[in-house]
């Protein structure tokens, strides 16, 4: 069947040697940082090129440099490293059968961590499943996240939700959905309501580049544009959606950020592995939303270094060492080198921090398991299924509960 249709292919498949030299990367510091009250059409350069702050010598350059103090940088590094150590531990626990499922954010930790640090605690987060870094920044204890993954007696969701599909309303982190994309229009609705109530809080949402094909992505942009809602909409372009490359979502035509312009929304395309660039772009968009100037779409250009989930086998569809060739490197490593270049950090301090965080994760795991394991319990009681929804439990559920407990 020979057709004129274009069928996208991933650039490299198992056995190939990856070569990303075709990806055009602008020099760090090259792009201007315009005022936040700007029309979508004036963001062509920002949405087609790429905002980068860290240069080849690990210095922060250009108008987008957020000029963060050393303490903020140390915090950012710590959060990202904790995210990674935590993920690796949980991955190992899944391999040992101690949890049934897990999803790592390896290689894209700067997205959630830098973005959350650029926001205010009152800003509402509508993430996808790969932004556990948000919870780390907002101070959720690892033990609580682990208990959710273990579905044990201390699981804050009472055994109802898949591991990693967290819900922490206390820190303005919305309930994660297993169905892709739904968070995007919800964030816009939340933002509209915030405006209606007269608060200065903004809503922030994340969607994968793969999921940007879902209608909800387009609904979100349409409504954000029509009502100029105070919302920051993020596309995390980590190149892969399970086994399909970003070109299957249309990424080979124009950057995802550039889609914003068609909707009349400013678009920013950002080096997602550059902590400073991610921080700066997010601050810009959040400030814009808070001023009532309207929404922004940010594309975070990064790479999903880990398998999609513990159920995934990337050996079927990509070279296993592809990440090693990724031209934007590792966000943790890049921030570390920047801090060392600034004289604010050293390899010794880094090794020490890594050890401290590893110990912390181990101790947290031990504590989490003391509240119950997936295989041996104690689990949430079966009757928990009937709780948290009805004040007065309706008769059909009372009947079911009785039958069940008999």
């Amino acid at each position: 069947m020979a057709t004129k249709l274009h069928i996208p292919h991933a650039p490299f498949r198992p056995g190939d040697k990856p070569d990303f030299s075709n990806i055009k990367l602008p020099k760090a510091g090259e792009l201007r940082r315009p005022p936040t009250r700007i029309h979508a059409n004036e963001t062509r350069d920002l949405s087609f090129s790429m905002i980068r702050v860290l240069d080849g010598d690990h210095r922060a350059v250009g108008e987008w440099d957020p000029h963060l103090d050393a303490e903020t940088l140390r915090q950012g590094l710590r959060h990202m490293l904790l995210n990674r150590v935590f993920d690796d531990r949980m991955y190992k626990m899944q391999r040992q059968g101690k949890i049934s499922f897990y999803m790592r954010a390896t290689g894209e930790e700067a997205v959630a961590v830098a973005q959350c640090m650029a926001l205010r605690p009152g800003d509402m987060l509508f993430p996808s499943y790969r932004q556990q870094g948000l919870l780390i920044v907002r101070g959720i204890r690892l033990v609580d996240m682990m208990c959710q993954c273990l579905s044990n007696s201390r699981d804050n969701l009472q055994g109802r939700q898949l591991p990693v599909l967290y819900s922490f309303k206390d820190v303005n982190f919305f309930t994660l959905s297993g169905n892709l994309g739904t968070q995007f229009p919800q964030a816009v609705g939340w933002a509209m309501a915030a405006e209606y109530k007269g608060t200065s809080d903004v809503a922030v949402s994340w969607i994968g580049e793969g999921s940007s094909a879902e209608a909800d992505f387009h609904y979100g942009l349409t409504f954000a544009s029509v009502y100029r809602a105070p919302v920051v909409l993020n596309v995390v372009n980590n190149q892969w959606a399970i086994s399909t490359y970003q070109n299957v979502a249309g990424g080979d035509q124009n950057p995802f950020a550039a889609r914003a312009i068609g909707y009349g929304i400013p678009g920013l395309r950002v080096d997602g592995n550059d902590f400073l660039a991610v921080f700066a772009a997010t601050s810009w968009a959040a400030e814009r939303a808070r001023q009532g100037a309207g929404p922004t779409l940010i594309e975070l250009y990064t790479y999903r270094a880990a398998p999609h989930s513990t159920s995934d086998d990337p050996g079927r569809y990509r070279p296993l060492d592809e990440w090693q060739y990724w031209p934007l490197g590792d966000p943790i490593d890049r921030l570390k080198k920047h801090m060392i270049a600034r004289g604010e950090w050293s390899e010794e301090q880094h090794a020490e921090l890594e050890k401290e965080l590893t110990d912390h994760v181990l101790a947290s795991w031990k504590e989490a398991e003391s509240y119950g394991t997936l295989n041996e319990g104690p689990w949430p009681p079966v009757s928990a299924m009937f709780e948290d929804v009805y004040k007065d439990v309706p008769p059909h559920l009372i009947k079911q509960k009785r039958e069940l407990l008999e």
């Binding site: 069947m1 057709t3 699981d155 109802r160 939700q161 094909a213 086994s243 399909t244 079966v382």
Partner: protein
């Protein structure tokens, strides 16, 4: 051969036989679906006929409807049946009605494959059994195979059908083994299969619940209760005759289906039995389905929500008691 292999073989044979058949959906080419059911098909048929699509269930289902109207025979792959909520407009308002609304000028020979079933520790949004939604709609046929043999024969019938067919595979049954003949065969829609002959009670079961019913029947044997197990195989068209005849013979009926009972498949079948065999029944028809709650993740919680052989056994004993 496993049920997953039977589905794959049916698809491969139909694709060889008919160049109009193609598959589209998420992660179906190199990945061969997340359940690995389509492994290898892309190697034989290429990426045009095993088409990895953008992540948009409504989008690729709409594309399939359009392609079907121009004479192709698309097979759409919905990774988790839970996502079929997203394709309802294309399936319910378009695929099901186009032939009727176009005065018979357009037909939509497409198959929508989707998974159903709990017990995979996948929680509320990846475990539902939503087949009743489709069976509710005039213009859609709904297939639920319970063995590899049935899966292959029914899939071939589905692909050769000139109208939209919704084909639900239980994701916990992909590894289920059973004999499948080498030669080409099809299984007509609307013909129930008596999986076990019995005289005291009829257990009508669908999909993975057929195995549950058979296991319960074995337990009942020890109590000298002879259970007949019937699998309708297609919930629409429904083989009412076979079901009613069995009900008349045994005079007691249990209907087991993994969907919710309320307004579900068990409700429909129970009413078919009530209307057709009322005066032969010794007891009201008993329905067993998923509990009326979102399906939890926690293994002990999830297990409590899904019908088990013990539950079917207990209900049968009570009915025969």
């Amino acid at each position: 051969m496993t049920l997953g292999e039977a589905v794959r073989e049916a698809l491969a044979e139909e694709m060889r036989r008919d160049s109009r058949v193609f598959i589209c959906g998420e992660d179906i080419a190199e990945a061969g679906t997340v359940f690995k059911v389509l492994t290898g098909l892309v190697d034989e048929f290429g990426k045009e006929r095993v088409l990895d699509t953008p992540i948009s269930e409504a989008g690729f289902t709409g594309i399939a409807v359009g392609a079907a109207m121009t004479g192709m025979r698309p097979v759409v792959d919905i990774m988790f049946g839970d996502f079929s909520t997203l394709v309802m407009d294309q399936m319910v308002n378009q695929a099901a009605k186009v032939r009727y609304m176009s005065g018979g000028k357009c037909k939509v020979p497409m198959v929508m494959r989707a998974t159903l079933g709990a017990s995979r520790r996948s929680a509320a949004q990846h475990s539902q059994s939503l087949h009743a939604w489709f069976a509710h709609i005039p213009g859609l046929k709904v297939v639920l195979p319970s063995t590899p043999y049935d899966a292959k024969g029914l899939m071939k019938t589905a692909i050769r059908d000139d109208n939209p067919v919704v084909f639900f595979e239980d994701k916990m049954m992909y590894k289920l083994k059973g004999p499948v003949p080498a030669e080409d065969y099809t299984i007509p829609f609307g013909v129930a299969d008596i999986k076990r002959v019995g005289t005291d009670i009829t257990i009508i079961a669908t999909s993975s619940m057929v195995q549950v019913a058979l296991d319960a029947a074995k337990m009942l044997e020890e109590f000298d209760i002879s259970a007949e197990v019937i699998d309708p195989r297609t919930v629409w068209p429904l083989d009412e005759k076979t079901l009613i005849e069995s009900a008349k013979k045994t005079s007691r009926v249990i209907v087991v289906d993994e969907g919710y009972e309320r307004y579900g498949v068990t409700a429909e079948i129970a009413s078919v039995i009530a209307e057709g065999a009322f005066f032969s029944l010794e007891a009201p028809v008993k329905r067993i389905g998923a509990m009326h709650v979102p399906i939890p993740f926690s293994p002990p919680l999830e297990d409590a929500t899904i019908p088990t052989e013990r539950q079917v056994f207990g209900a049968a004993k009570a009915l025969c008691g």
